[in-house]
Amino acid sequence: MAASEMIGFEAAFETAQKRFNGDRPSWWHDARRRAFDDFRQRGLPTRRDEEWKYTNVRQLGDVSYRLPESATPTSNLDAYAAYRDDADLELIFIDGVFDAAQSRLADLPAGVWAGSVEQALPGHGDVIQQFLSAWDGADAFAYLNGAFLETGAFIDVDPNTVVPVMIHVLHVITDAGKASMTSPRTFVRVGRSSEVRILESFVSHSGEACFINQISDMDVAENAHLEHCMVQAQGLEATHIGTTRVRQAAHSHVATFACALGAKLARHNLRVELNGEGTHTNLDGLYATKDGQHVDNHTSIDHRHPNSTSNQLYKGVLNGKSRAVFNGKIFVRDIAQKTNAYQLNRNLMLGPECKVDTKPQLEIFADDVKCTHGAAIGQLDDEEIFYLESRGISREHAVRLLSHGFARDVFERVQDEGIRARLEQHLAEYFGDALA
């Protein structure tokens, strides 16, 4: 393992800029420079910022970060076998570096292009450039990702193509990723009337502190269908900041799922922009926390055109001394008549010192709409626990079974069986027993 420098954001950026001298197009460097300037200007958000009211990220500025290595680290993926399937197309990243050898991209179905960003640059540079300029930052972490962006996945689906297999983007952080900052970005373009299912997994068994600042940008054309799932099962010392941005054209269907089980500090931003009428969107999620974890989900959906529907369910299970934050925004613009938007956040508080801050939010400017949101915070039903105990199940086991059931219920909304199976696997591991 080559020695990388331990440095703060400023110094890290200088190093990062020098790395690809001559290797990448000049617009790439310009975009990174711009992003860093924007980040420097803005700085890390503080708790005075309404979007970060409940989540403190100041400490991220005090750390010296190592950047990903230049060469692919060697890594054995046996420990993650349960989350993989031979039938999937796979893009594998180890400690922020693309692992071409272990990825499975040999037999790309017709109409699909998938590969790492560096593989995509020669042939699809213009598309990436478009993504980088049109999907400009807006928040500090998006700028920070843009400044340190080196690699990631690029998936391009031609019009009128149904991708027969699931595409799995797997990011693994190993013990060697200690004190590193990785900034991958996934670019997805789904052509007109096409259909694709994508799973992005961020997994780690490492107990080392590290910082993952990741973005997934998805451009979904007219009448296309996308199912996207993000599973975050980082090590319990990690900081994971994730941003998923979706743009939907008319009559497209998108289902997103965000599952957060790991990391000491996790934040996921989901932004959906509806750029045409007649769209349908599902925004679902699950988070489960244990001692010392802090998980924050911020979602927003912007209804800008008539006749669209959105449906959102986020559930959380809190154990030990942990904290969960949820903020869901629904905007309905004045022309977005006949919008039907639904949002629900349910939290199960089990730990004696856990804390929930939830803020569902509606901003409605059109009158002929149906918008509903709800939030609930509560406990398990004593009667249900008693029922199980009376049948010889210990109280502890009963609580585990019931909370597992509470959480698993959201998976019903996942269409793709492959994605659902992987989610169930993660959850079973999390709760330490399978619900057979």
Binding site: E50, L318, D334, Q337, N347, M349, L350, G351, P352, E353, C354, K355, V356, D357, T358, K359, P360, Q361, L362, E363, I364, F365, A366, D367, D368, V369, K370, C371, T372, H373, G374, A375, A376, I377, G378, Q379
Partner: protein
């Protein structure tokens, strides 16, 4: 739906409280500085400790930035260019009885429909009327005194019951609370003071009527209600102001304290002038209202009908300190024309087995903005806390907005918290159904709106309930079609 209503004529009659009374008043110079604060205090003949409090608040206020987080926008307020005190000129040392009150003033209250004159009063309502900055008359004093209830203007309370005022004033809303409470604490003019002694069920509904009459004045009322153990009081307030082109400022502070087993029911019908259809003029209503459930099993209930003011910034709150205490918030907020309302509540659960209920109904018409902003906080020690919140919005027209910003912050794992919000509109089917049965358009809308708000209206005392329904009907005229 085509409208056959002559909107212009409706608009002209829309705000029937928009008259100005020609009453001689004495004001002090424009502006805000320590001398003005001293002058207000001197005018009111206040003791030294009150002046000190005002000055402390003023010095704090000067350091404070104006809050900008609310979902409202307005041009900057020039605090230096307002009159901070205006009082109807007194004939002698002040009205000794109703007969001494300026006849013009009585006529004004007559027009407003305030049951001030004995002849016209609705039985069982004791009224304290506050005109601009001073309290002009308090009725039913004797009857209240018999059972030990103190109900008088705040200035009188400072003179006659300084020990009570000293004990509770600022104990729920300290001057440091926010920008507007600091301003109010420095220049507050008058308001009501109620004290319900132990075990007394107040025999009358207490009522205060606020009116801003003089131009370019701010009204800074201050109300304090204390309910001792096992007592009960129902308090009502109403407010109006003349139609003027400039914006006027109203920054009130209301404090409630309820001890063991006591209950305070506080109802408001707010109908400050809201400006014309183009958003010109109207009252800026920046109000801090907070109740403290100090004792076990105490209960504080806020009911409000917010139908006026160009801008409303108001969050009546309850601190649930006593075990088993109960907080309630029932609200109807109607905005039309260019009005902006950012209103809601805060329920802070501190004691054990505390419960709170929030029912909020927002109706937005024309180009108005209506936001619900609420906080439910359960502190770590507040085991067994229970909250239910329901926020429903109705939109009339597609240039208005309805927003919901609920904050739920829970730190105890025995809490059960539920929040629900919906947004809808009056459907064409509902209208058709009612119209086909012979109701005219406005009758139909008014019926539907009343149904929408029923849960809140039934919490209001009877006379207020009738007034509130009329008020909404009047406001909705011309907005529907």
């Amino acid at each position: 739906m085509p409208s056959t209503i002559d909107i212009d004529s409706k608009l002209a009659e829309e705000y029937r409280y928009g008259f100005v009374s020609d009453i001689e008043s004495e004001t002090i110079p424009r502006g805000l500085n320590e001398d003005i604060v001293r002058m207000i205090s001197a005018k009111k003949d206040e003791p030294e400790w009150m002046l000190e409090y005002r000055l402390k608040a003023f010095r704090f206020w000067k350091e404070q930035p104006e809050p900008t987080w609310a979902n409202v926008s307005y041009p900057p307020i020039d605090y230096e260019n307002l009159y901070y005190y205006s009082a109807p000129k007194k004939n002698t040392d002040g009205p000794k009885s109703l007969n001494d009150v300026d006849a013009e003033l009585l006529a004004t209250f007559d027009r407003l429909g305030v049951p001030l004159g004995e002849r016209e009063r609705l039985a069982g309502v004791a009224v304290d009327a506050v005109f601009d900055s001073v309290s002009v008359a308090t009725t039913h004093q004797e009857e209240l005194e018999k059972c030990g209830v103190i109900f008088c203007s705040f200035s009188e309370a400072v003179k006659n019951h300084p020990e009570l005022v000293k004990k509770y004033f600022g104990s729920v809303v300290p001057y440091t609370d926010n920008f507007y409470t600091a301003l109010n604490s420095a220049v507050f003019s008058d308001g009501s003071f109620c004290f319900i002694p132990k075990g007394v069920h107040c025999p009358l509904e207490l009522s205060t009527y606020f009116r801003i009459n003089a131009a370019e004045t701010g009204q800074f009322e201050r109300t304090l209600i204390v309910a001792e153990d096992s007592s009960y009081v129902s308090y009502l307030e109403g407010c109006t102001a003349p139609m003027r082109d400039e914006n006027q400022l109203h920054a009130a502070v209301v404090e409630l304290v309820a001890f063991d087993d006591a209950e305070i029911k506080y109802s408001t019908v707010q109908n400050w002038y809201a400006g014309d259809a183009n958003g010109k003029g109207g009252i800026y209503n920046f109000v801090t209202k907070r109740g403290k459930c100090q004792g076990r099993n105490s209960k504080i209930s806020w009911t409000q009908v917010e139908a006026g003011a160009a801008i409303t910034w108001k969050y009546p709150s309850v601190l649930l300190l006593g075990d088993n205490s109960v907080g309630e918030f029932y609200s109807v907020a109607l905005t039309n024309n260019m009005m902006q309302a950012d209103t809601g509540t805060k329920m802070i659960h501190v004691g054990k087995n505390t419960s709170s209920t929030i029912i909020s109904k927002g109706i937005s018409c024309d180009q108005s903005h209506n936001s619900y902003r609420g906080l439910v906080r359960v502190l770590p020690g507040a085991s067994g806390a229970r909250n239910r919140s329901e926020c429903d919005s109705m939109l009339v027209g597609n240039q208005c907005s309805a927003n919901t910003f609920p904050y739920l912050e829970v730190e105890n794992n025995t809490a059960v918290i539920e929040h629900e919000a919906t947004t809808s509109r009056i459907s064409a089917e509902q209208m058709f159904y009612l119209e086909s049965r012979g109701l005219d358009k406005e009758g139909a809308v008014s019926l539907l709106v009343n149904g929408f708000c029923k849960e809140v209206f039934k919490k209001l005392p009877l006379e207020f309930s009738v007034e509130a329904v009329k008020l909404l009907e009047m406001k909705l005229e011309g907005s529907v079609g």
